[in-house]
């Protein structure tokens, strides 16, 4: 019997996202990823005695922006606190974070799964600093006699977004994460480069008997950095908890870690050993007072959010699927929108954008923004096909050429002499030659075999190197044979 027949899953997620600032949260060191170890550090982020942190205004701007996009209340009065713990990735022995007065509270995001549309509550979102990176001498931290520390990431601004325990299935969790990441990307609060660890998820999950009101005992699995890890982790952890419960046991409230290679979660520490963080107000930072005017100023910078954009696409007549493909990749959707200004047949355009263009992008591991091909050039190509200057088939070749060279489509058509042959006289000569060469097909067609015309069109197209206007060729062949 599957556990789903007895239990319901309850899940909440804490998301840590690196904010897209140029400098760290409390000092002017660069946040750039991939610098040589310990070269983006200064006395402030190294926790030297006597230094004073100063809050980066852009961190506050981005936190407000994220808060608004997540339908949160923005606190008029907010402050920072010290979260004390002893670990070498944290040179000060405390993390500067926000405890009881976070900048954002009480928001929500709307998710859609195959089953339903649902609101997922956001409890809070607060600003804090990231920790450094550890490299262990052995295979794991347990088997290492020593570790190496790079403090470049220390002090990179984070927003920790805490959801309510509102999710009841793996698809709901994934829909929430996808929606959250899309919102953060659309608002440019973060680049959300998962492979660089700029978004990390902590997954809180428990099971309860179907129909029960209260929550079961939960575990928290920390530091997952991809959707697929989250899915696998949830599948493993719910199954594990169900086995414990079915065996008459009790789930232990604990922090666990995800072993990507083995695909399992492992206990890190139990609640009894839980950190005693001894939060207290950060004396080195003065409080933050955010007036309505500040919030409203940020509100004016909010772009169209993914859910709104999806609705707009559906209203344009795009399919759910096409709208979803576009919205999921903001650069692609931006590209589509710009091309649409010059070529207004949305459905024709989307087929090309999510078809041949996306295939080229994927093959070259590029986003639409990185491509040499501009939306304006793309729209011009659509126009050439629409006006019958070139056929759709030739259009595909032109697109590839444009993608490689960045040249205008009209120039490629001219240089390579690709324009469609729509001159009746020229086509008629070729049609006559083809008919003379294939008497059997002519006979078949006259005997009522429609298929034969396809073959004959193919021969003419081949003779014109694909440049014959297929509609015209078809008509001329029929006229000649009847």
């Amino acid at each position: 019997m599957a556990w789903q027949d007895r239990y319901e899953m309850v899940c909440g997620v804490e998301t840590h996202v690196e904010l897209a600032t140029k400098t760290k949260i409390f000092c002017g060191c660069s946040t750039e990823f991939g610098g040589e170890q310990n070269t983006h550090v200064c006395p402030v982020c190294l926790g030297m005695p006597g230094v004073l942190p100063v809050l980066n205004r852009e961190v506050v701007n981005l936190a407000i922006k994220a808060g608004l996009a997540l339908n949160c209340e923005i606190a008029e009065f907010s402050k920072f606190d010290r979260k004390n713990y002893y670990y070498p990735d944290l040179p000060k022995n405390y993390q500067t974070s926000q405890y009881d007065l976070p900048i954002c509270t009480k928001g929500w995001v709307t998710i859609e799964t195959e089953e339903r549309v649902k609101k997922i509550g956001i409890t809070r979102a607060h600003m804090e600093e990231d920790a450094g990176k550890l490299v262990h001498s052995g295979e794991t931290i347990m088997s290492s006699d020593e570790s190496y520390v790079d403090y470049n990431r220390t002090g990179v601004p984070l927003l920790e977004i805490v959801s309510e325990p509102d999710m009841r299935s793996v698809p709901e969790v994934l829909a929430y994460l996808e929606q959250l990441v899309q919102i953060l990307q659309y608002t440019e609060v973060s680049d959300c480069r998962m492979e660089q660890g700029s978004v990390r998820f902590d997954i809180n999950v428990s099971l309860r008997r179907l129909g029960a009101d209260g929550f079961g005992i939960r575990t928290e699995t920390k530091n997952l950095n991809s959707f697929s890890s989250v899915r696998r982790c949830l599948e493993y952890e719910t199954e594990r908890q169900a086995q414990v419960l079915n065996g008459g046991g009790q789930v232990i409230q604990e922090t666990r870690t995800w072993d990507e290679g083995k695909g399992i979660t492992l206990a890190l520490r139990t609640k009894e050993e839980a950190h005693d963080y001894r939060y207290f107000p950060e004396p080195d930072l003065v409080p933050l007072v955010i007036g309505r005017d500040w919030v409203e100023r940020i509100r004016t910078t909010l772009p169209e959010l993914p859910a709104e954009r999806r609705l707009r696409y559906l209203e344009l007549g795009l399919s759910e699927y096409d709208a979803g493909v576009l919205v999921a990749a903001k650069p692609l959707a931006d590209f589509f929108d710009r091309a649409l200004i010059r070529f207004d047949q949305a459905k024709v355009l989307v087929n090309w954008v999510t078809g041949d263009f996306l295939r080229l992008l994927n093959a070259n591991q590029q986003s639409a923004a990185e491509s040499r091909l501009s939306p304006e050039q793309f729209a011009e190509l659509m126009g050439l096909i629409d006006q019958g200057v070139i056929s759709g088939k030739i259009g595909k070749n032109v697109l590839e050429e444009m993608y490689l060279t960045g040249k205008d489509p009209s120039l490629i058509v001219k240089e390579k002499n690709l324009a469609q042959i729509s001159d009746e006289g020229t086509l008629l000569r070729i049609v006559d030659e083809v008919l003379a060469a294939h008497p059997q097909s002519v006979e078949d067609f006259r005997a009522g075999k429609e298929k034969a015309i396809g073959f004959l069109v193919g021969r003419v197209m081949k003779a014109t190197k694909g440049q014959g206007n297929p509609g015209l060729v078809n008509r001329l062949l029929r006229e000649k044979m009847t």
């Binding site: 600032t21 140029k22 400098t23 000092c27 002017g28 060191c29 660069s30 040589e36 170890q37 310990n38 070269t39 983006h40 550090v41 200064c42 006395p43 190294l46 100063v54 809050l55 980066n56 205004r57 852009e58 961190v59 506050v60 009065f77 402050k79 004390n84 713990y85 002893y86 670990y87 070498p88 022995n93 007065l101 550890l134 490299v135 931290i141 347990m142 290492s144 006699d145 020593e146 570790s147 190496y148 520390v149 790079d150 403090y151 005693d276 001894r278 107000p281 004396p283 930072l285 003065v286 409080p287 933050l288 007072v289």
Partner: protein, 105 residues
């Protein structure tokens, strides 16, 4: 550790085990006489601070900071960082540009 001025009218005293707990969290190894000494000293600090309890604070809202300031902010402009060599200069141990630390767990 519950350090409050009063609990149910009684002043809470810092016990030996409180000191041991805090020492553990701070990774401090204390000798017996040190534990005694710090227990005593921390209690006298609390006692001293308890003078404040004599003040009437009715109608005074709690504060988050002692300075009458807010919104001290800097612009998001990159400033030079330390050179790696300088960053590591005070490190007890370093290798290849990394700080080297002993076994963590």
């Amino acid at each position: 550790m519950a350090v409050e001025g009063k609990r149910g009218g009684e002043r809470v005293k810092i016990s030996r085990s409180d000191v041991e707990h805090v020492a553990l969290l701070a990774r401090l190894e204390l000798t017996e006489p040190e534990i005694e000494m710090f227990t005593e000293q921390l209690n006298s600090i609390l006692e001293y601070a308890a003078v404040l309890e004599q003040l009437n604070t009715d109608g005074v809202s709690p504060t988050a900071h002692v300075l009458p300031l807010h919104n001290v902010l800097r612009e998001d402009v990159v400033r030079p960082s330390l050179e790696q060599e300088k960053a590591l200069m005070n490190a007890p141990d370093a290798e290849n540009g990394f700080f080297r630390v002993p076994r963590i767990v």
